[in-house]
């Protein structure tokens, strides 16, 4: 907690024009990540988690409008000139996407792509860059790295491709890595390996990380803090152990309950969340979760609950009817 703040997102909103009207993809979001810390951002498709990461990277679609500030290492990224921004991205600020096939260039060898990054940002000569590339591939657990350098992305499996994407992201020793659903396209055994790899490299490099996922199971053991997003807003934010022990936001509770439990008996009906998220081009007047919430009452349909502090430090939630301490947990 005492680490200096590396990234802070302050009152950030992203609006996208669509034929059906403006879509507010990110709605007044505040977040902070300390050096070497891990923030988990959890939410379902369309909740704005990917737009938020693009806002941080300043990689929003051309027509999108960003308001608020994104402070990274003392600079406001939205105000940086394109050249400085380009230097920063890849060097201090790196990203790993969900689908490694789309983030790697299919017509260039793995080696070319790694060496290019190293030469561009670290100004290494080609021999040093090549040696460094092989070391990086070995570090992310790729066997026979020298041989892999000459291969193309299609010659590798999904897991191996994601390892290459991670090697490229880590190549310049970034201060912050944004991992956007890095394991969603992978099998469960490979997912565990990739998450372990990210955690190991993060510790070794004292790198901060934002882990974006739809799976509460993925953030539970691997993050310091979690922000839960729904319909563009952060609806609950807390240190990870606190969130799981004393969740206050009904959406977080419902999301956790809807995951099939491995220790539940077969044919146990799952507590599903009824309905679906609201249409982002037609924002609701009240709490955006109210139509699906089993605790919602009068006020929830008229007023947006603010993201307010809970009793314990670092815990915030946006709810008029927060739930009590979860039965069974925290005892």
């Amino acid at each position: 907690m005492n680490e200096p703040v590396l990234l802070s997102v302050e009152d950030a909103s992203v609006e996208l024009p669509t034929p059906r009207g403006n879509l507010r993809a990110v709605d007044h979001v505040d977040l902070a990540v300390g050096a070497g810390r891990t923030l988990g951002v959890v939410g379902e498709s369309g909740c704005g988690k990917t737009m938020l990461s693009r806002a941080i990277l300043q990689l929003l679609p051309k027509k999108a409008k960003l308001s608020g500030r994104v402070m990274f290492d003392g600079q406001d990224l939205a105000r940086l000139d394109p050249e400085r921004l380009r230097k920063l991205r890849g060097r201090s600020l790196a990203v790993v996407f969900q689908d490694p096939m789309t983030s790697l260039n299919p017509v260039l060898t793995i080696g070319t792509q790694l060496i290019e990054t190293l030469q561009e940002h670290l100004e290494l000569d080609s021999l040093a860059a090549k040696k460094r590339s092989a070391e990086l591939l070995a570090a992310v657990g790729i066997p026979a790295p020298e041989q892999r350098l000459t291969q193309y992305p299609h010659q590798l499996s999904g897991g191996m491709r994601q390892r290459v994407a991670i090697a490229i992201a880590l190549s310049c020793e970034p201060k912050l890595l944004i991992a956007d659903e890095p394991t969603t396209a992978l099998d469960v055994t490979i997912q565990a390996q990739i998450l372990d790899l990210l955690a190991r490299e993060q510790r070794r490099r004292h790198m901060a990380m934002i882990l974006i996922t739809h799976d509460l199971g993925v953030v539970a053991g691997r993050t310091d803090e979690v922000a839960v997003m729904y319909a563009g807003r952060v609806v609950e934010r807390a240190p990870t152990p606190e969130l799981f022990k004393r969740m206050r936001m009904p959406y977080t509770e419902a999301l956790l309950a809807a995951i099939p439990k491995i220790d539940a008996a077969p044919h146990t009906p799952l507590p599903a969340i009824s309905g679906r998220p609201p249409d982002p081009t037609r924002p609701l007047q009240g709490c955006s979760f109210s139509p699906r919430c089993r605790y919602a009452a009068g006020r929830c349909f008229q007023e947006k609950p603010p993201l307010a502090a809970a009793e314990s430090p670092g815990h915030q939630y946006a709810c008029f009817h927060p739930i009590g301490i979860m039965a069974g947990a925290g005892t």
């Binding site: 897991g159 191996m160 490979i190 539970a220 008996a265 599903a272 679906r276």
Partner: protein, 329 residues
């Protein structure tokens, strides 16, 4: 209901897959997608089939329906051999077995109205009276939780993924089948919607008296709906057993590895460090002997030399392993 009774008094399974082999040639090489798999599903039962991508679980599902011709082996459905059927007989049989796919949006024709999409199987199978067709379409749409009057005139793109999956389920149910193969029916859906669809499948199973083959890569999802679970690895069956028993006491090291790799939504449970070693080898040149041996912590020389047979390790639980975690009894 006529059912022959075997000496053991056990009812004959509705589906019996016997020594099924599916291989295909790609670029002069043979992919061993399914190698000598035998399993059975009793009437009213849900059998879960799990494994990583490329393990052959979807190919197995398709081979059951004869959408992919098996290289050898038999598929017995209600006592009749589907592999020996052709043309009209096979088509008639297929009405009793339906399939639900992973991507619900891609499985619906984007240019056709929902009402027509669901009525089409009826028209093909000879329900000539449009009034009767409409009644059946209305019934099945209500059953899957959609309001027929609001839905039938609309096109697939007007619906979310979860709603499209409800429509696909309705289309599968409209012919009143006995058996449904669900191939990763919820893996494209969000957590909150996934639970809705899993609950719906359970409801429909009870209401229509269905038997299910539930294919998925997510063990927790499979456990939630299955009576028994079969685990596949690189084309072969590793383990089959009652769900609770298999999850509580996995006998095959691969089953144990899959269970350990599931992320647990509890910060007090530290994720096990790198339980999984390496990646599955290519199905073009699978390892000799036990196919899992290259990633298995218990593998020795015998595993390279001898293909392990499925053996009973506990009542109803079978594992194909020379060194099972439960000693064979």
């Amino acid at each position: 209901m006529k059912q022959d009774v075997r000496p053991s008094v056990a009812p004959k399974p509705l589906l019996e897959v016997q020594n099924l082999v599916v291989e295909y040639a790609v670029g002069g090489k043979t992919i061993h997608a399914v190698s000598d798999v035998s399993l059975e599903v009793s009437r009213g039962e849900t059998l879960g089939l799990v494994g990583e991508s490329g393990c052959g679980k979807s190919t197995l599902g398709r081979a059951v329906l004869q959408l992919r011709k098996p290289t050898s082996g038999r598929v017995m459905f209600d006592g009749e051999d589907l592999t020996a059927m052709h043309g009209e007989t096979l088509r008639r049989m297929r009405r009793r077995v339906q399939l639900i796919f992973q991507d619900p949006i891609a499985s619906l024709n984007p240019r056709r109205r929902i009402g027509d999409i669901i009525a089409e199987p009826l028209a093909i199978s000879g329900v000539k009276d449009p009034k009767q067709r409409q009644k059946l379409v209305y019934d099945v749409l209500s059953a899957v939780g959609l309001d027929p009057s609001l839905v039938i005139e609309r096109l697939p793109h007007e619906f979310s993924g979860g709603q499209c999956q409800r429509i696909c389920i309705a289309r599968a149910l409209v012919l009143n089948p006995e058996f449904i193969i669900c191939d990763e029916p919820v893996s494209a859906l969000d957590v909150s919607i996934r639970a809705q669809i899993l609950n719906l499948l359970e409801e429909m199973k009870a209401r229509y008296g269905l038997t299910l083959l539930f294919i998925a890569h997510d063990l927790a999802v499979v456990k939630a709906v299955s009576d028994r679970v079969a685990v596949m690895y690189l084309g072969r069956l590793c383990e089959v057993g009652p769900s609770e028993q298999l999850f509580a006491h996995p006998a095959h090291p691969y089953t144990a590895l899959l269970i350990e790799a599931i992320p647990v939504p509890d910060p007090d449970v530290r994720p096990a460090e790198s339980v999984a070693v390496g990646e599955p080898p290519s199905p073009i040149a699978p390892p000799s002997g036990c196919r899992f041996r290259t990633r298995c912590p218990r593998a020795d020389q015998r595993c390279a030399a001898e293909v392990p047979e499925l053996r009973e390790v506990a009542p109803g639980q079978f594992a194909a392993c020379h060194h099972p975690l439960i000693p064979a009894g």
